[in-house]
Amino acid sequence: MNATGLNYHDLLQAAGVNQGNFQAFIDGYFATKYNTAMWDGFEFDAAPMLDYTYTQFQAELKLNVMATYVNPDSPAKMKSTEGFSELSGTIPTMKSALVRDSKEQRELMKMQMASGDATVNLAISQLYRTLDQLLGEHVNSISYQRNQMVSKGKLELLDANNPGGIKNITFSAQIPAANIVTKTSTAKWWTDTTRGTEGSASDPIADIEAEIQKMQDAGVSAITIEMDKLTLKATLGHTKVLAAIGYNLNPLVADATVAKAIASNLSYNQKVAAFQGLFEATLKVTDQIAAVETFDKTTMKPVSTQMRSFAANVVSLYPSGNIGKIKHVLPILPAQGFQGATARYFNGSLLMRTYSDINTNVQYFNTEQALLAVIDKPKYFHILNVL
């Protein structure tokens, strides 16, 4: 018999992986790919939680009052101490699944015959791709959470971003309503959704400057301005912004028209640098895309719909540095004797399970993770909705 070696329906088995070393496989192959600091300002909480309700102490900037000048023989008045406030909320659970049946197994075997690659190598590469897809889905979910929390102050589960899942649930970052400014009428930076017509009373520079001032008044000195790349690109084309950049580069220009002309001739990167130079803050540009899968009942095909991860037409301002924690819940492991393999990732928050059905030759890969990107200093967050 001249059989290909890759005839196990269990991909793990074909790749030389078993219950005992599945965790080591993931740790080895994905040691660095997703374990880097990908969620700016957020890091995984050191300890997992045991249930789905989190509490988070609100971080304070700890502005110490000055000592009091007194008569040398007199004691000083005792000072008050700063309290703390606690934020609480609920952590959502997300899951994903891939299924692999014997038809795919046979296609893999055909590929092996065609490529001549070693059985184990091909199986390892297939296993890597399968796991990578699942881990990558969770990475995108966490990025989307982070970007929604920062840009909208909340994560809303809707049909658009969670089709087939639970809907109409909002996880709030608890940013004070007074910190969220929405431009209206002619003060909007643009008056149409295509960002083609500028609001006659709009002034992006003054709007951002006003928020920076509020933060500085509250004692925040290092400030980050964050925008979606496409929003920034449109902003850099705004007449008032161009004029400000032009004046900034050459304060002696005759008028705004000339200033605009100067700025218009700059390259994109020069414009970004000049724009950032206008503010006492660091500019962070986010360019991330998430996607969801739905099933089109008319064409009977799955459809992947893309969406910008960071909300459009929003300028977020927050204290530079750490701004929150990724709260996560300890997953429950299957009992010993489970006929499959498990592994964990992302500080143990993600549980991956794989098992096979020996009758139908179907192998399942399931993931489960409960987490939420929680902002720990919401009172210092400012969100500017410009459209």
Binding site: K103, E104, E107, L108, F295, K297, M300
Partner: protein, 218 residues
């Protein structure tokens, strides 16, 4: 005659993998014994031309080693009882591509209920819909069709007719008829959990006889 492609140039792409799931779960013992060959009345090549895809989840009757497909079509446009002569049905994902001469009826309330069936005189494909020419009042006097109604294959044209076959299960796996095929086989699942929006339309009367199938919407 030499039929290889020596000296002839070109390229093609063949896709592997990249499937989407239709069965959420199939019970360990949920597949009917032996499977069967798809029923042929006149000739295989005519009834299952090259390129035919019989989709996963197609309702089938497995009996005596023969798999008979119950064709089902979802109505996409209103068919007025006395005026309309054409029924429009969704083209994507049908269990069997309709051809002139096929006999259809409005899915009855139960698989044992009879109704009026009609032979389709012509079939056209436009805008992702099959346009079945059936004539006015085709499904009985005063019977109109609403969007979402389901037509099923019938035993013969005329009044008092039954559905073509009573399904015993749903097709386990998509069947593709390649060049040179002379026979096709399939497996029938009677116990499992299927994503109902990804399969051919299943009328209520069929769901009621497939009691061990869970039809899960998107």
């Amino acid at each position: 005659m030499n039929t290889d492609n020596y000296g002839v140039y070109g390229s093609e792409t063949k896709e592997f993998g990249g499937t989407f799931p239709v069965w959420k779960n199939i019970d360990n013992e949920g597949i009917e014994d032996n499977g069967g060959t798809f029923k042929v009345i006149s000739s295989f090549a005519t009834e299952y031309p090259t390129g035919t895809i019989i989709p996963t989840g197609a309702p089938v009757n497995l009996s005596g080693g023969i798999l008979t497909i119950l064709p089902t079509y979802e109505v996409t446009d209103i068919y007025a009882a006395t005026v309309a002569t054409v029924v429009k049905v969704k083209a994507a994902g049908v269990a069997k591509v309709p051809v002139a001469g096929n006999i259809v009826m409005l899915a009855p309330a139960t698989v044992g209920t009879t109704g009026t069936a009609i032979a389709v005189s012509a079939v056209a494909l436009a805008d992702g819909k099959y346009e079945l020419t059936v004539g006015a009042a085709a499904f009985g006097s005063g019977v109109a069709l609403a969007v979402g109604d389901i037509l099923v294959g019938a035993t013969a044209a005329g009044s008092g007719k039954s559905i073509l076959t009573v399904p015993t299960g749903l097709l386990r796996r998509e069947v593709y008829i390649g060049a040179g095929a002379t026979v096709a086989t399939g497996a029938s699942v009677f116990h499992g959990n299927i994503l109902v929006d990804r399969i051919p339309p299943i009328p209520a009367c069929v769901k009621s006889v497939l009691t061990m199938i869970k039809f899960t919407p998107e």
